[in-house]
Amino acid sequence: MNKKFVLGIYDDEDVLLTAIENVRAAGTKIYEVFTPYPIHGIDDVLGIKRSRLPIVAFMCGLFGTCFALWMQIYMLGFDWPMIIGGKPHLAIPSFIPVTFELTVLCAAFGMVITFFIVTNLKPTLKVRMLDKRSTDDKFVMAIEVKEGTTDLAALSKLLRSNGAIEVNEKEVVK
């Protein structure tokens, strides 16, 4: 199935931010905005919710803590008790460095892996570029066209009245 997009091209960051606000206020759903660099505050304007990745990080970290403590207590305390440095079998303070490291490791790996899965980032991923200039000096606002329901003329007018220097249409093959 083919998808059709209307692309509003902007050449100014501040104009873009107000345009996004106005376009959303007019009830138009924005598919995506492509910018050459991260723009401060664009997430709020686009209404993107905060990532829930920190929760994943906390859970993975907690898992790392528990796993590390269980591993050391079970191995050194019950499975194969050894006296090391004259300390008791369950020498908790000496377990702390390993526990700390495993907490950090699990939290970091858990976050990265979750991020890859959630964003579908993988070596075979093909990213379609709607307008090449969004990697150079233009900001591109993409709005998906739904056959029959989208009024192209009105949309074009809306984008232009909010400072778009060009309005293009693009069809991509899924």
Binding site: P54, G85, P93, I96, P97
Partner: protein
């Protein structure tokens, strides 16, 4: 940008005086109890026989009083000098976000002269009660009390060098604090970026000096109480404790000022950054604490591990609960509560955590000084709470007076505009 002037009403000032008065009453009550040898001190008396057997005399109330005054003064002086350190770090880092709140750490330094005078007087009057090494007989080879280890440290730990160092620390800290303050106030009047660049150079100088004096003052004022013991982490440990208490004090003051209608341009973003500071450095303190503890615990050498024995099983387990409360309140509590972004942006959460940290690090200094001096006869009674209230009242009086002296908004700070629009 408009100026904001803080007005401290007579009523508020009277509250501070009331706080001092309550402190004095509690302190006197504590002294009477202790001198009478009954009441609240009954428990401490129980262990008397054993302590005497171990070669310690019963602790007099003057000794307990001097140690209380000493450690409270060290704690509040530390928070005060952290004010200079905070400003210096912000200048050297070219930080913009903190411009709006910089008058708060600037005012914290107002306690420094008071702290210096109190500390000098305490050392002159009560040094034999606080520091074991000040006894002359320890250095006399013919004396039965001759202590070769302490005598070996005579080059550093002697009366005059100690006095010279103490005066030098305070002179340098006050000099730099006032120098930065004067620049900042002149900037308010005249504007321009000249004062800013000058402040960066002054700050860099201060950081070099504080890098040394923060460690050496910690050795002098806290570590030398346990004269036989040594720790290469100790300077950092005391600094970490001061730094996180100072950050908590700054955050709490900003929130209280904001809730009373001042600092109108401070918003959740500034609080978020302050919250991150408090969160990060409570973990930093724990890291230093653990680094010191783990090595001594693991090596288990008598002359090293005695410090932790005195705080855990030794001294009849007197300090055991404080030892663990210290970790809970200064690490576990801030770590879990301030972890989320929302918590760092809410005044109520920050308020609870900063108050907990301020109490927690007061306990931390208590734990650094008491076991080495009062041994099994220490405790937290009327004397401790009274002294803390007196110092807190004096500190608030000087701090708020410092705050009223200048506009709360540094109107001509070059980064003020950036600070107002700070967004994280």
């Amino acid at each position: 940008m408009t100026e904001e002037r803080l007005i401290i009403s007579r009523k508020t000032n009277n509250k501070f005086f009331l706080m001092i008065a309550i402190g004095v009453v509690l302190l006197i009550a504590g002294i009477i109890f202790m001198a009478a040898g009954g009441g609240a001190e009954h428990h401490a008396e129980g262990g008397h026989g054993e302590a005497a057997a171990a070669g310690h005399e019963a602790v007099s109330w003057t000794k307990r009083l001097f140690i209380n005054l000493w450690f409270n003064n060290v704690y509040f002086t530390g928070i005060s000098v952290i004010g200079v350190f905070f400003i210096a770090v912000q200048y050297v880092a070219y930080a913009g976000w903190s411009a709006l709140i910089k008058r708060v750490p600037e005012a914290l330094t107002s306690y420094l002269p008071v702290g210096g005078v109190i500390m000098l007087l305490l050392f002159l009057i009560g040094r034999h009660d606080i520091f074991h090494w000040t006894h002359e007989s320890l250095y006399d080879i013919n004396s039965p009390e001759y202590d070769p280890i302490i005598a070996g440290k005579e080059g550093y730990l002697n009366f005059w060098f100690f006095i010279i160092r103490m005066v030098a620390y305070f002179a340098l800290w006050i000099l730099f604090a006032n120098w930065l303050k004067r620049n900042s106030l002149e900037e308010d009047l005249n504007g321009g970026t000249g004062y800013y660049h000058k402040s960066i150079r002054i700050s860099a100088g201060f950081l070099v000096i504080f890098g040394i004096t923060s460690s050496t003052s910690a050795w002098d004022w806290v570590l030398s109480i346990d004269t036989h013991w040594f720790s290469t982490m100790f300077g950092w440990y005391v600094f970490a404790s001061w730094w996180v208490s100072g950050l908590a004090a700054i955050t709490l003051s900003v929130i209280i000022l904001k809730q009373n209608g001042y600092l109108k341009m401070v918003n959740a973003n500034h609080l978020h950054d302050l919250g991150k500071f408090v969160f990060a450095f409570s973990i930093f303190w724990t890291y230093i604490w653990f680094s010191q503890f783990l090595l001594y615990w693991y090596a288990n050498m008598p002359e090293e591990v005695i410090y932790f024995l005195e705080r855990l099983g030794g001294n009849e387990g007197h300090y055991k609960w404080i030892f663990f409360v210290n970790l809970l309140i200064n690490f576990v509590f801030p770590f879990l509560v301030l972890m989320t972004r929302d918590a760092k942006r809410q005044m109520i959460m920050l308020k609870i955590v900063t108050i907990a940290i301020l109490i927690g690090h007061w306990l931390d200094f208590y734990l650094m000084t008491m076991p080495g001096t009062l041994h099994a006869q220490g405790g937290i009674g009327f004397m401790e709470i009274g002294t803390a209230l007196i110092f807190f009242g004096i500190f608030l009086l000087t701090f708020t007076r410092g705050l009223t002296k200048a506009s709360l908004v540094p109107v001509n700070h070059p980064f003020l505009e950036e600070s107002v629009h700070h967004h994280v």
